[in-house]
Symmetry: C2
Subunit: 154 residues, 2 copies
DNA sequence: GTTCCTGCAAAATTTTTGCATCAGT
DNA sequence: ACTGATGCAAAAATTTTGCAGGAAC
């Protein structure tokens, strides 16, 4: 039930993102590609600040926060990145894998960790609900709040 | 399927909130109670700024933003209020009705309106998933993004 | 060479905190 | 009266914007 993203999928996403950026008539700038490459290597979602910090830890020039935000905005606009609001102050971002790896998030109130979750039955019920609604559903997010196994003390 | 909150439920919530505040050893201060009364009258969620603006439009003293935030924090801590992050910049808040009126949100990308939604099948699937998980689920949020009927132009 | 991208700095937004004063119990 | 709540102001945190210079195509 843990949504796992394979190394293959990650590389695929980075290539897909690069192609989509190019197809949109946009350029492969340094900061933008650094963000793509960093996100491609992630399992879970990152905040803009976390993206910047991670890039700062890497060799090479560190992009400014503004460029990180602009890159994330652009990628979100191209549906290459999914923006996630988990209740903290800062929004988080993660790669949107075209085919599989559709997942949601469980936030532990104890340690703050974010777990990826996925469940076919829930997705099915959600889609059936969407079909019955007078609302065209483009995307959906589910966030669970609670305690992870490690933080559930007896 | 529209989650409707009756006048009765609203009054109940305000009374319940007042009792819970008192039971927690907290006081019925002016700003705090103004926020409770305002939220009790709402159908949908409001941001802190919207709460403050609505209170400013009412006769009587207008509480400061800090007091609004503190009231909302306190109420959220007592599980009287539910904090909702719908993807905008500001968090929103709505009364947490003890028994019924468990609902989620659909955000229209066209007009920005927020619709309340609820679906038993989805809730059931979600609870079944929670039972299978190594994670104690205390609360969950579902947010749909898309277009409302009015904004789906042909 | 043209146009977009980037970085810095400044600003706008949202939320939190310190402290003196006021109000509820 | 005692203690917690409030308001103001300042600060912190997050995100956006303007503009000059640099990079991609």
């Amino acid at each position: 039930m843990h949504a796992v993203t394979s190394t293959r999928e990650r590389a695929d996403w980075a290539r897909h993102a690069e192609a989509a950026i190019s197809a949109a008539g946009l350029r492969a700038g340094g900061a933008r590609m650094a963000v793509v490459d960093l996100l491609a290597a992630q399992d879970c979602c990152l905040s803009a600040q976390e993206v910047r910090d991670a890039l700062a830890a890497l060799p090479g020039a560190t992009p400014g926060m503004a460029s990180v935000y602009r890159a994330l905005d652009t990628l979100t606009g191209l549906h290459l990145v999914h923006r996630v609001d988990l209740g903290g102050q800062a929004a988080k971002y993660e790669p949107a894998h075209p085919g599989g790896d559709h997942h949601h998030h469980a936030v532990c109130g104890g340690c703050g960790r974010v777990l990826a979750i996925s469940d076919d039955a829930v997705e099915r019920a959600l889609h059936e609900m969407a079909d019955r609604m007078a609302f065209r559903v483009d995307a959906h997010d589910i966030t669970l709040h609670g305690r992870c196994a490690r933080c559930t003390a007896p």
